[in-house]
């Protein structure tokens, strides 16, 4: 039995796991990315490197193996990761940080480094919803819209390891402002924040709706609010979710028209709505794709590894 160590570096936590040959996580550890918890002062590379090392040692202790007995360590990290270096990661203050070399000199086994969205997509590809496909796209509808592209079984990185920014594909030129500084990006409409924005707007226009009452009771708007209102028969909730699905279908149809993958997987919190989201989405995408009449079209499914995709995908990066 071989052991593969996977590390998922996030803005809040560093999650680590030991994965076996059957792609199961057999031990886990979790540490804070910023253990000192200093507000407004993100930790520097040296501090995070120490925490990553600490997480790896913890998980090996948990599994009662020596790190040197593992096959390799794979790390999924925010930002542009190429040639073992984190070129740039905005929320982590990394700049040309040699994470692969530093981890290899510590643990003396091969270390692989990849962008976190790509690593999670690779997890769904090797062990999750996209297993068995050859070309796959994984889109995560979270705070932002992340994406990973698998072509011919490998992560597609482009020429500067920054490819796959489907979230910053413009679907409404001159549309809503996006966190990237642009306007009209897929992310501006289809992230959880995009859905919250649509919900807030509709609530303001419909102060007597069930949805607005719900917001008053909850004291906040979340990405679940419109779906909760929909389930209570609120036409305003339905209008918001219809609008959300329309934008989502637009971006997903673009991805299909460009890539024609075997499978396109969507993940992230919004996907907890299951078929309530998926069925209208599939119908709307089918209307929009250029290959409507083709014998073979892309399957659209919901990711099934949840947060484990990041750890499993990272652990298998040696194959990527």
């Amino acid at each position: 039995m071989a052991y593969y160590i996977g590390v998922d570096v996030g803005g809040t936590n560093i999650a680590c796991g030991i994965v076996d040959d059957e792609m199961k996580i057999i031990a886990r550890s979790k540490v804070k990315t910023n253990p000192r918890g200093r507000d407004g002062d993100p930790p520097d590379y040296a501090e995070i490197l120490d925490e990553i090392k600490h997480a790896v040692r913890l998980v090996c202790d948990e599994a009662e193996i020596d790190p040197s007995a593992a096959h390799s360590i794979g790390i999924g990290c925010p930002g542009t990761c190429g040639n073992g270096v984190v070129e740039y990661a905005n929320n982590l203050k990394f700049k040309n940080s040699p994470l692969m070399a530093d981890m290899e000199s510590e643990f003396k086994i091969p270390v692989y480094l990849e962008n976190d969205a790509n690593a999670a997509a690779f997890g769904e590809f090797v062990a999750g919803a996209a297993k068995g496909s050859r070309n796959a796209i994984v889109i995560t509808l979270g705070t932002g819209v992340g994406a990973g592209i698998i072509i011919d079984g490998k992560i597609y990185r482009g020429s500067n390891c920054a490819a796959g920014e489907l979230g910053h594909m413009v679907i409404v030129m001159d549309g809503l402002p996006c966190t990237c500084g642009g306007h009209g990006c897929f992310e501006a409409y289809c992230s959880a924040n995009g859905l919250i924005h649509m919900t807030t707007q509709a609530s303001e226009l419909n102060p007597e709706s069930i949805m607005t009452k719900m917001i008053r009771e909850d004291g906040k708007v979340s990405a679940r609010t419109a779906y909760k209102a929909l389930k209570q028969g609120d036409p305003v909730g339905k209008a918001v979710t219809d609008q959300y699905v329309k934008y989502l279908a637009c971006g997903i149809a673009n991805a299909i028209n460009i890539f024609q993958p075997d499978i396109l997987c969507i993940g992230g919190g919004v996907c907890n709505e299951g078929d309530t989201l998926l069925l209208p989405l599939k119908a709307a995408v089918a209307e929009r794709i250029y290959t409507k009449n083709s014998a073979k079209n892309t399957d659209i499914v919901i990711c099934n590894l949840g947060n484990d995709a990041g750890i499993i995908g990272a652990s298998m990066l040696f194959k990527s």
Copy 2:
């Protein structure tokens, strides 16, 4: 010296060439796709197949070689081409037409079949503006917007050989109607027809402009009209070309954010404007890409093989 036969099947003509090891076309032939010229009744597969065979024999006569002495025949054909079969080509009445097998049984040498936009992109990749790159995108701004994607030196076809429809990527949700039946596609704005539409609209709103006078004199609007007006100092011509470049930059920045290729080549009639088009386009794309601050960004250049890209790319399909 080896000889490679390339065939570019178009709606009007079938252009054929013999290409040498230096990627030069050493002999050419051209026949009508529909020699009987029946209006409103497109020729069927058997008729076009005969014309393709005829074009190959003509070019071999011209070069004084026997077809069986050639290395291979490559064919670029409109429509979805997979496994040697034209699955579907709207304007040619093809449906699951076994073009590869029929040509191989005629000429007894290997035959390769590919979508025409992909073949032309491959031509630019092997011998034109994208030569020496690894990942390249070629976008043709013609009657429509065609595209070919080269990943790791190979044509990217997706899982159903229909990938690469960048022209039908929506950039303005619910925008202008497109020939595909959708709305807001890149093609609806950035094809020659898109530019003609913008020019016509601006002319109607500005009946006293230099551009409108030019249209009255020419008796028609073309994709060159706005650029001609721009060169005469017409602010209306400038506004139209600025608007066109804005949409074009939006679609091209999307392609770069998704693929991060080494190079992105644009071709087609509009590109005859040269730097008048290219320089403002590059500036506008630079503003829009997600990797503004990256050390390495995609080069944007104009294709340099013109119509020969189709023949040269087809002739080299055995490498694709």
